[in-house]
Amino acid sequence: MRRTSFKMTLLKLRESQIMKIHYLTGICAVFFVAIHILFRVVMPFGQSLEYQNVIANYHNIYYVVLLELILIFVSIHGFNGLRIILLELKQSDRWESIMTILVLAAMIGIIAYGTRTIIVGSGL
């Protein structure tokens, strides 16, 4: 009973709603990553990775917003995908709660770490 209530407070979304978020973040990530890749092929690939060019990208506010959105969408999509795989391998309330907590923690950690790079790199 206690475990069930713990799970309920942890994850109030239904699995069908989580799947909608999974699909939506996936589709958004495809569009944003495509733009991110276009920034690498508008000039020769090696040249686009030179420090000055990358810093110039980071000083473009629209590109900064794009990077942050990619970070958030890919993190949500990727870590929820990992959660789905882990829940397919084994089923129990305890396993589901532990995996959800671990995956959420990792997702928040990656978003925080990537956001730090974006903020420092863009000089905001």
């Binding site: 996936g26 690939f45 420090y51 870590f79 995908g81 795989i85 391998l89 990656i110 790079t117």
Partner: protein, 164 residues
């Protein structure tokens, strides 16, 4: 002879049942990784998960390698020395292939889950082929594999400098 083969079948069935009871019907990672039993749909299921996990690992690595930007030009250049190599480019080609397959097959799965391309429900007649496992689904998987190969080829051309 007929009786013997029936006996063999029964013995196989009993062994399978006993084994299934032992692991509570769950095959775990072994079952998940077995692509041989269900045809192309199983290959697609397996590849979708494999590319998904691979892309997540790449994403984490990419966020980490990009963070060298905040430590100045020297840190950035030493990171580039590690990644801008022939091996690094081949690895990126695999990432491009994996992401293309994952995207195209993912879109197919969104359509499938919305009920598109599943065919009309019908009476189950021998040999009991599921109408949902039809040529539309299979061709979706083949298109995903083909586009992944084309994207890998184009990515290779860009990175190795023959096109840009």
């Amino acid at each position: 002879m007929g009786l013997e083969s029936e006996g063999d079948k029964s013995s196989d069935f009993n062994t399978y049942n006993a084994k299934a009871k032992m692991d509570n019907g769950r095959e775990g990672l072994r079952g998940w990784l077995n692509p041989t039993r269900y045809g192309w749909e199983r290959v697609s299921y397996w590849l979708q998960r494999l590319t998904g996990v691979g892309l997540l690992l790449y994403f984490i690595g990419h966020v980490y390698e990009t963070s060298s930007l905040v430590n100045g030009i020297d840190a950035w250049n030493s990171m580039l020395e590690l990644t801008q190599t022939t091996g690094g480019h081949i690895f990126l080609m695999l990432v491009i292939g994996a992401s293309t397959f994952h995207t195209v097959n993912g879109i197919r799965l969104i359509f499938t889950e919305s009920g598109l391309g599943l065919g009309k429900p019908g009476r189950p007649d021998y040999p009991y082929d599921a109408t949902s496992l039809n040529y539309k689904q299979k061709s979706g998987i083949w298109v995903a594999l083909l586009l992944a190969a084309i994207a890998m080829f184009y990515g290779g051309l860009v990175m190795f400098g023959d096109a840009s």
